[in-house]
């Protein structure tokens, strides 16, 4: 089944809008297998330019989270393994590194579904995340930074995180990630279950962080509308393969993207949708 690698490593569109910038992160032909049996992603190649903002789109089970985990090293606890290819971060190969070492290097992964430390207060959540580097004063400074980005968290800082509402938890998860002073911020479906205005709010903040702190962002999203608004360019993953790669504008215009991710034309009607098997037009 590896014969398809050459195919997948040549996405439909070759030109890379951010090629001129040195990539802070690059995946070459990464393949991941869970439990030694189930093949999750096959030969995925991705680049995130310095200070750039990249989106990773794809259907359920396409392998987006797996891709992120292969970067942050969080496959191990799930008995997943990078069996081929390599992950390079600012120059060096990080495949051998343990998760916390990668965070030290500057990669941080905001997990799907928030995963805040439920029994601790938001404040303690942030402190815990500051342990990886820097002294006490760094910690305090970063906390202020986070609280300025998320004033809402400051109000709730002494509550028990487990009882925060979905949005607040998402903010906490992002703030917690920022505490590690990362170079690369990876967000896995940050808009999951958030109210529309919160989605826009959070994406704005992420964009601001990206500008002001100058850190690169790799964004996994189902909400393609919101995602493609903020990123410079995006990748599309299907069945564990990169099947499309282009800048945001071009992607928005792509008819398939429109049909399957953006929801086609305005005001189209769910009642008219008939059951149909989807056509895998990408690979043909």
């Amino acid at each position: 089944m590896h014969s398809t690698d050459n195919l997948t490593s040549t996405p439909t569109v070759m030109h890379n809008p951010a090629a001129n910038l040195a990539p802070v992160l690059s995946l070459n032909n990464v393949e991941v297998i869970y439990d030694h049996v189930s093949l999750a992603i096959k030969g995925v190649s991705i680049e995130v330019p310095q200070g750039g903002m990249v989106a990773l789109l794809g259907a359920n089970g396409a392998g987006k989270s797996t891709t992120l985990k292969s970067i942050s090293g969080l496959l191990r606890p799930e008995r997943g393994l990078v069996t081929r290819g390599e992950v390079r971060f600012i120059g060096h190969n990080i495949d051998a590194l343990a998760p916390h070492e990668r965070v030290k290097l500057g990669i941080v992964h905001v997990l799907e579904g928030r995963r805040v430390f439920e029994h601790m207060t938001p404040d303690e959540n942030l402190i815990a995340a500051s342990a990886v580097r820097g002294g006490r004063e760094d910690m305090l400074r970063n906390k202020d930074m986070v609280y300025t980005y998320f004033p809402r968290l400051h109000q709730r800082r002494t509550a028990q995180s487990g009882y925060l509402s979905g949005g607040e938890q998402q903010m906490l998860a992002i703030g917690r990630a920022l505490m590690t002073q990362p170079k690369l911020l990876m967000l896995d479906e940050p808009s999951l279950g958030l109210a529309p205005f919160l989605v826009t709010e959070i994406f704005d903040i992420v964009r601001r962080i990206n500008k002001e702190e100058g850190l690169s962002v790799l964004l996994v999203e189902q909400n393609a509308i919101a995602a493609l608004d903020v990123v410079s360019h995006g990748y599309l993953i299907e069945n564990g393969r990169v099947v499309m790669h282009d800048n945001a504008e071009a992607m928005k215009k792509n008819p398939d993207i429109q049909e399957f991710y953006l929801g086609g034309a305005e005001g189209h009607n769910f009642h008219d949708i008939k059951h149909y098997r989807r056509r895998k037009r990408w690979l043909t």
Binding site: V103, V110, A129, R136
Partner: protein, 295 residues
Amino acid sequence: MDFSLFAELAINGALSGLMYSLVALGIVLIYKSSSVPNLAQGAMTMLGAYVVLAIANGLGLSMWAAIPLAMATMFFVGMGIERVALRRLAGRPIIMILMMTLGLDIFIRATTMAIWGGTGRPMSIGISDDPLFLGPVLLNRAYVVGALVAGALFLVLMFFFHTRRGIVLRAISDDYIASWSIGISVERGVAFSWAMSSVIATTAGVLWGSVQGVNQGLALLLLKGLTVAVLGGLDSIGGAILAGLLLGLLEGVASGYLDPLVGGGSRDLVVAATLILTILIRPHGLFGRHDIERI
């Protein structure tokens, strides 16, 4: 009824209860920082005591030189345990980890016995046995010392779990994966907690050893320690102390007044009753944390 008798039973009971808290604290420490209920704490206590003796007799050192050395040794033993036995199980269902600690318990006990043999040995840390009266009430010096140590440990741990490192440990117990994702070395954290707990075990071993002599019996402290720990709430330092106090007090008074009536051994009944009642009134022990379930 004779008040001084009551007072004496109650006070000495409470003090001995705090001695049990010493074992409980070790269990709580590990649970609070990795959600592992350690059934090997008793065995570790025993091992700690034997190591102290081995160092003291082997190197011909005084107790006060041997104890710190033993603590250092046990510190690394604890780390070793994590490295060998628990690291591979990180994130597994709790019950397997529970079983692992049970295996450790069997292994440590048997190995210790195989090396040093079952004949009891004395452990004197210079606590005099002369009577110590507080008014009409006679106090047990050894227990007083033990209680003081327990109190000190309580303060230290309380402080520790509010330092950054302590918060990190709590984070680990809350969610391994999330901890990894923000750069916490879960392995190191858990190893550290085991190391600390081994040191506490040594302390308990020394104190109990000085009370009952060093022998297999030390390993049996597990059941009491576990009972106290769970009663207090597995992740609550304060709980471990209070539960120890409470249980000890009840036991002391009970065995003083009930035993003659029911023909002995009423302690276990009291313990059982206390357990059931606590669970009915406070399902998570006295101060244990509730698991948050967002439906």
